[in-house]
């Protein structure tokens, strides 16, 4: 087949909603965009372990401690599934990690905000995981097979994350005055960063058209953001919390909530590295990786020694 017929075949697969699998021919840009998108997603899971990991050692009850530890552990698992999906495209996990550590690869900016109180565990589960799920559920039908399969697994596991977050918020909202205040304070701090998680407005999102054509993105940033706001505002009302947006108003005509102006300067600043915790997050990842180098090397060295020791034995057995 010529490149042209390869391209035609690929286009037909995409059009007919047939999955693209790792060894299928795919355009270079498709491959590169996927590597960027999947690895960025994986990095977000791994860096995302840190702000919540902060509170594992301070969780206020043994039950909460177990739940939070299991949740943060799941995020590690999700990172792993996603790195694996990206690896099928021909990049190794270590390369992706190098790109994260060098600053070449990005991760979700939301994790550059600090977790200051216990209520932040509730707000992250409810809002950040909630926003993530909005993004991720459509990706279960994304065109690249391994990515879609990873997302199915992620979404299955993720459903408990948002519920445990909301449960924390609900407990606080039904609690003492100071607990209510803690919950509201967390909502105030996490609301805007959460709705920025969907990325820039469609008008400022140049890759959207191509990505939607390739079915590696299934809804636009603004569509998903609106959907998130519509459901989350109701959830806040249910537990008596106030969304910190004075312009928030139900619009009968559109059937959606109108909302206030998003501070995109803040968004781009955090993306550029000026968020409150960018440095700490990256340093924590680098430190874990660098401190672990001798451990990883030891395991490889031992495996090689063992292979060497076992080889002559199995030969003599065969003889």
């Amino acid at each position: 087949m010529t490149t042209k017929s390869f391209q035609e075949h690929f286009d037909k697969q995409i059009e007919n909603e047939v999955s693209i699998e790792p060894r299928d021919w795919m355009p270079d840009d498709y491959r590169k965009t996927l590597i960027r998108q999947i690895s960025q997603h994986a990095h977000s899971e791994i860096v995302g372990m840190l702000p919540e990991g902060n509170w594992i050692t301070r969780a206020p009850s043994l039950r909460r401690k177990c739940v939070l530890l299991a949740k943060v552990q799941d995020e590690g698992g999700h990172g792993l599934y996603l790195y694996s999906a990206a690896e099928t495209l021909g990049i190794s996990r270590d390369e992706m990690i190098e790109q994260l550590h060098s600053g070449k690869a990005k991760y979700s900016s939301i994790f550059n905000y600090p977790t200051i109180t216990w209520a932040d565990m509730g707000a992250i589960g409810w809002l950040v995981d909630g926003a993530a799920i909005m993004n991720q559920v459509p990706l279960c039908r994304t065109s690249y097979g391994p990515y879609a399969r990873a997302m199915v697994r992620v979404c299955k596991e993720e459903s408990f994350h948002q519920r445990q977050g909301y449960e924390i918020m609900m407990t606080l909202a039904n609690g003492t005055e100071v607990q209510k205040k803690m919950a509201q304070d967390a909502l105030n701090r996490w609301w805007w960063p959460s709705i920025m998680m969907f990325g820039p407005s469609d008008a400022d999102s140049p890759h959207t058209v191509q990505s939607m054509k390739w079915r590696i993105k299934r809804f636009s940033n603004d569509e998903l953001r609106q959907k998130f706001i519509d459901v989350t505002v109701e959830q806040a009302k249910l537990i008596g919390l106030t969304v910190p947006d004075p312009d928030l108003k139900w619009n009968e005509a559109t059937g959606h909530y109108d909302f206030g102006k998003i501070n995109w300067d803040e968004f781009w600043n955090v993306v550029k590295g000026n968020g409150p915790c960018n440095k700490e997050r990256l340093q924590a990842r680098q430190k874990a990786w660098n401190d672990g180098a001798w451990v990883r090397d030891a395991a490889v060295a031992h495996a090689q020694k063992r292979k060497f020791k076992e080889t002559p034995k199995s030969k003599s057995e065969a003889a």
Binding site: T88, G90, I91, S92
Partner: protein
């Protein structure tokens, strides 16, 4: 010819992934393993995903820790990914399409009277 060692199992083209990555030194990375899980006795092992491990024991244990946290399995197989040989998608027409017109291999091909029982 392309380096076949970078094209095994369900893995794509390393060179196509591009640029500087091709020269990345992977010699000290823990190898990649494919994980197959039997979800309950009586069923086949099914591909669950992949992971990195220094040796086979560790791969099984890592698979247990990564892929069976929610009671997903009762048995695990692991195989180092580089030992998985796969058919080439370019051969798909040759390999799979000839079966399309052999519908006489399926029981529904045969028209038999409704009165016929136990068949």
């Amino acid at each position: 010819m392309k380096n076949i060692f970078h094209r095994y199992g369900d893995y794509g083209d390393r060179e196509a992934a591009g640029g500087e990555n091709t020269h990345h030194d992977t010699s000290n990375e823990w190898p990649l393993w494919e994980v197959f899980i039997r979800s309950k006795a009586g069923l086949d092992h099914k591909h669950a995903g992949s992971l990195h491990a220094a040796d086979a024991n560790m791969a099984i244990e890592n698979a247990r820790d990564v892929y069976t946290r929610r009671m997903e399995g009762v048995s695990i197989w692991v195989v180092e990914s580089k030992y998985v040989h796969a058919s080439d998608p370019a051969d798909a027409e040759m390999l799979y399409e000839p079966a399309n017109d052999k519908i006489y291999r399926h029981p529904t091909f045969y028209n038999l009277p409704d009165e016929l029982k136990h068949m």
